[in-house]
């Protein structure tokens, strides 16, 4: 469905000739090969639809003009920044893609602990600017190469440090948003006074419609600039790095400690979380390295900290007596970072941490107390610069299970889930055989603690057709298990609710069938009404979940 020349010319007038393209070399590059990525959905060669043009806006004004043109010409659009996830891509043949790469500014207000960021400011750059001012930011679990704005406006956005730095939604202050109809709304203080420090109100918060639990996945127009809360960082203005490429380790962070807790049982794990929440000792808490798999996680850390080693060394490392013992010791583990804002503070946190370990019968992993390993871990967790390690093992992964946000519900189920995965690893070849449990667990899915995240990493080879299909089948099985246990949707099947396996949008009728019979249908029917009010031409795809209210059936 080619664009009309008038529309294309109008877009060109807005952004300039060098910032728009309909050349297939460009447009084909903005298709997500969902089956090969963490969307892991659909046939292995299926891509999201090809945009009719790719546009690179350079300012909010340009975005507004583009969106208005889309409304005039009834062309769908979607904006994305780092294109990390399938949700950033369009779902229709009659659509254009906005790539926000040109908008990447970061301004830090150190005193008031906030940063004003544009879409292509990624966690890694926002954090480095924040650290110059004794501050840091929440970086979502996806890693520091993801857009801070997209995480804050578009998706869930919790990460390893969220216990201390809160999650994306909690940190979102003022926001500038081009609505799907082309109007611009600036939330909170920004709308009235041009100040960024509060995104709520006036009165009931309009931001309610832009950023719920998941964010709006790019369906509520284009967020062009936001302010986020920054959080205290007691370390240097830049974390000194030692080591040679690609092994980098934090150097000299004396008031920051990284530990790995070895829990004696899953019950102790849950109780440990509760105590960690209450004692407010953690700067960061995350079950990180287990994502590689229970059997090989220590071997992987060895490889990452010894650049001469590669994956072919895994079998030997797994059998190394010392590593084997250490790996077994941390069967149920969590990585923790403590940061002292004073000597007394660090002393308190260390003692409180030790008291918690004693109370639950846990201990610190000896392996992770080695200086280089601790310093590698610190840098890894504090900067989340290597979240691409998620993919390194097999080139692709998809998270599955999800379990329950309540650690006291999820922890007792862990071994059953792990056994299910391990059995699959043994009976099929499409999923990497890493020891069953490959859970990467966010200790806190909410600021200060209280909810947890669970995500088993299903490592598969995105190049290997059989691996793609086999891992998909595995997730089908775990999804059925999740349903049987009453745990809700499997993490690995969220995408099935938002676009077809062929990458295209759902129709309203399909969404009605999916959402009109949920426990509280108002969730979907009010979103239908909100869409009608703010996105009357339905130009942003089907990631926005709606159900037609009974009283509106038959009406547009």
């Amino acid at each position: 469905m080619a664009l009309t020349r008038e529309f294309y010319r109008a877009l060109e007038d807005v952004v300039g000739g060098r910032n728009i393209s309909e050349d297939p070399a460009v447009t084909e590059n903005y298709r997500c090969i969902t089956a090969q990525s963490s969307a892991h959905y659909g046939p292995e060669d299926t891509r999201t639809p090809k945009p009719q043009a790719v546009v690179l806006p350079g300012s909010t004004d340009e975005v507004q003009q583009i969106v208005k043109l889309c409304n005039k010409y009834k062309v769908e659009f979607k904006a994305a920044s780092t294109f990390w996830a399938a949700m950033g891509f369009i779902g229709s043949d009659n659509a254009i893609q906005l790539d926000m790469i040109r908008m990447d500014s970061i301004e830090v207000d150190a005193k008031n602990m906030l940063a004003i960021v544009e879409p292509f400011a990624v966690g890694g750059t926002v954090q480095v600017e924040a650290m110059k001012n004794g501050l840091t930011c929440n970086i979502a679990g996806v890693g520091c190469s993801s857009s801070t704005l997209a995480g804050s406006s578009g998706w869930v956005g919790f990460g390893p440090s969220s216990i201390f730095t809160g999650i994306a939604s909690e940190n979102l202050l003022g926001a500038e948003w081009v609505l799907p109809d082309g109007e611009i709304i600036r939330t909170g203080t920004l709308g009235s006074d041009g100040e960024w420090f509060c995104g709520e109100g006036p009165g009931p918060s309009p931001r309610a419609i832009f950023r719920g639990w998941t964010g709006t996945a790019g369906t509520m127009g284009v967020c062009t600039k936001i302010a986020i809360r920054l959080h205290p960082w007691p370390g240097p203005k830049w974390i000194p790095v030692r080591g040679t490429a690609p092994l980098y380790m934090a150097d000299g962070l004396d008031n920051v400690r990284a530990y790995t807790i070895c829990f004696p049982s899953w019950d102790a794990y849950a109780e440990g979380f509760r105590l960690l929440y209450e004692a407010d000792v953690c700067y960061l808490a995350h079950r990180q390295f287990n994502m590689f798999g229970r059997d090989i996680k220590t071997a992987l850390v060895e490889i990452f900290t010894h650049p001469e080693k590669q994956f072919c060394d895994i079998p030997a490392l797994v059998e190394d007596p010392y590593l084997k013992e250490q790996n077994a010791d941390m069967k149920i583990d969590v990585q923790i970072v403590l940061a002292g804002f004073s000597e007394r503070d660090l002393d308190y946190k260390e003692k409180a941490f030790d008291a918690i370990l004693e109370q639950i019968g846990a201990h610190k992993s000896e392996y992770y107390l080695q200086q280089d390993i601790e310093d590698f871990t610190k840098l890894y967790l504090l900067r989340l610069a290597r979240k691409n390690y998620n993919y390194t093992l097999c080139s692709s992964y998809e998270g599955n299970f999800g379990l329950s946000a309540n650690v006291f519900v999820a922890a007792p189920l862990m071994e059953e889930a792990a056994a299910l995965k391990k059995k699959w690893e043994q009976t099929h070849t499409g999923v990497a055989a890493v020891g069953g449990d490959s859970d990467m667990g966010s200790v806190s899915g909410i600021g200060g603690g209280g909810t947890t995240g669970w995500e088993f990493f299903v490592h598969f080879d995105g190049f290997d057709r059989d691996s793609i299909y086999d891992s998909k089948a595995h997730i089908d099985e775990t999804a059925a298990w999740m349903k049987e246990k009453g745990l809700g949707a499997d993490f690995g099947r969220w995408n099935t609710e938002v676009r077809h396996p062929d990458g295209y949008n759902y129709t309203q009728e399909e969404h009605d069938a999916m959402y009109s019979k949920i426990a509280q249908p108002g969730l979907a029917t009010y979103q239908w009404k909100i869409r009608e009010a703010f996105n009357p031409n339905h130009l942003t795809g089907s990631y926005y979940k709606t159900a037609t209210p009974p009283e509106c059936k038959g009406k547009k």
Binding site: N112, M113, L114, G166, S169, L173, I185, R186, T189, G191, S192, D193, E195, F197, C198, E200, G201, P202, G203, P204, P206, R207, A208, I209, W213, T214, T216, A217, T219, M220, R229, P232, Y277, E278, F341, S342, R344, D345, D347, Y348, A405, N406, F408, V409, G445, I446, G447, G448, G450, T451, G486, A519, Q520, G522, L523, Y526, I530, A533, F534, K545
Partner: protein
Amino acid sequence: MATKDSLKTILGNANVIDNPDVLASYAVSHSFDKNFKPWYVVKPKDAETVEKLVAFANETKTPLVPVSSTGVKLRGDSVPGVPEAVVVDLSGMDKILNVNRQQRMVVIEPGVTYDRLSAELAKQNMVIAGSLKPKKGQSVLTDIVEAVPRLNPMIQWNFFDPLRCAEVTWGDGTRMSTGEAAGGPLDLKTQWGKQQWQVQYMGPWMTDYFRLVTQAQGSMGIVTWASLKTAVKPLIHQLYVAEADDLADLEGFVYKAMWTRFPDEIFILNNMQLASLMGKTQAEIESLKEVLPPWIVAASAAGRELIPEVRFEARSKDLIDIAQASGLDLKEGLSNLSGRALYQEATSTDGDVYWKDLYAGSHQNVFFLTQLDKTGVFLRAVREIAEDFGYPTEDIGVYIQPKHQGSSYHMEFTFPYDPDSAKQTARVQDLTESVSVAVADLGGYYSRPYGKWAGIQLNKDAQSLMALKRLQKIFDPNDVMNPGKLAI
């Protein structure tokens, strides 16, 4: 009469009141805004009744005004702003539905007051972060849903913490819950049976439904329960105070203390506000005001269940060191002010007379959000305006409260006046109107836009007004929820 009969059918005879004296009592508030006597006061006992009531209101276009607190009405938001209204008094829905120590969660109905809740929580060594000396009949739920600032901003990762989930009957009559609770059935017992404790407040999908009832003055729907996050009660606690001649002298300490997150409670008061809080009579306040320092900052250290002494000592010493580095002497008390006594007053509920009314009989408040480094600008402007009006600037109370871990600051000016004096009343009315406009002109943000502030605030932000109008049309299409209050 048809209305009364219908209401009786829905609520039962005893819960529909049209006694003129009672109705009149619901029309009295501190607000200078035009008030209307309600036609009826109804007292639902459960959410199902509320749901039916809202459905009826939609059918008959009857304005509903939810009220949860008892006692003096300070802001006027719960007094009808239009004729023919029905006040929905929820103070009788006062059950504490669930207390969960493991999750530190509590679920309460609208009529639960601080005293009751605190007593119940204390049994399990928990505490709810409170606001500055709420009135005795203050609904905890309303206080929190209306985002009244908490003395302890550190627990606020989210702007609205400790609010988590809620059950709302929207203005169109649909009852649903928000956040995590919306993922299951409305029945809480079923959710608890699955160990779902209404912890996670967002969404649960793309819309933050709970944000539509916050700061809404009952204009979007009626909340029939809310889940709140509590804290572990301190075993050792000390509120420290430091004095200063100028507000600006406190800035460095507060910024640094907020950065470290060492304090639990932290707030700033001027001598008048402090005297009002501590004094029990007009005379006591008058004399206290003279001897108290112009400004104090209060910051607390606490130790909880886990190695309480170590935490308490570390926090105490560090706060004192930070203060010292900022040129302040942070102590357990001043010669005429004990930190413990201040904590006691700040965290207890009020007596028979609201504490801000003790000095002159009544008061007016102007409060808004700003940033700490801008508070001095507002202080100067307000004093200048007060002088222009001949209002004694030394009588102006000031309270500054960090919110949301310090991302914004609640600044509150209190102007006591004698309500029996027509001149004083007129003067303070004119004064606060001028101050309200000036504050807005200087960038003060009425996030909670009561009375005239709604017009002032929304006139500055056409797009937010447009968005709110669209939202109101969705959630309260017949404009039955507390009409006339938000200027939408």
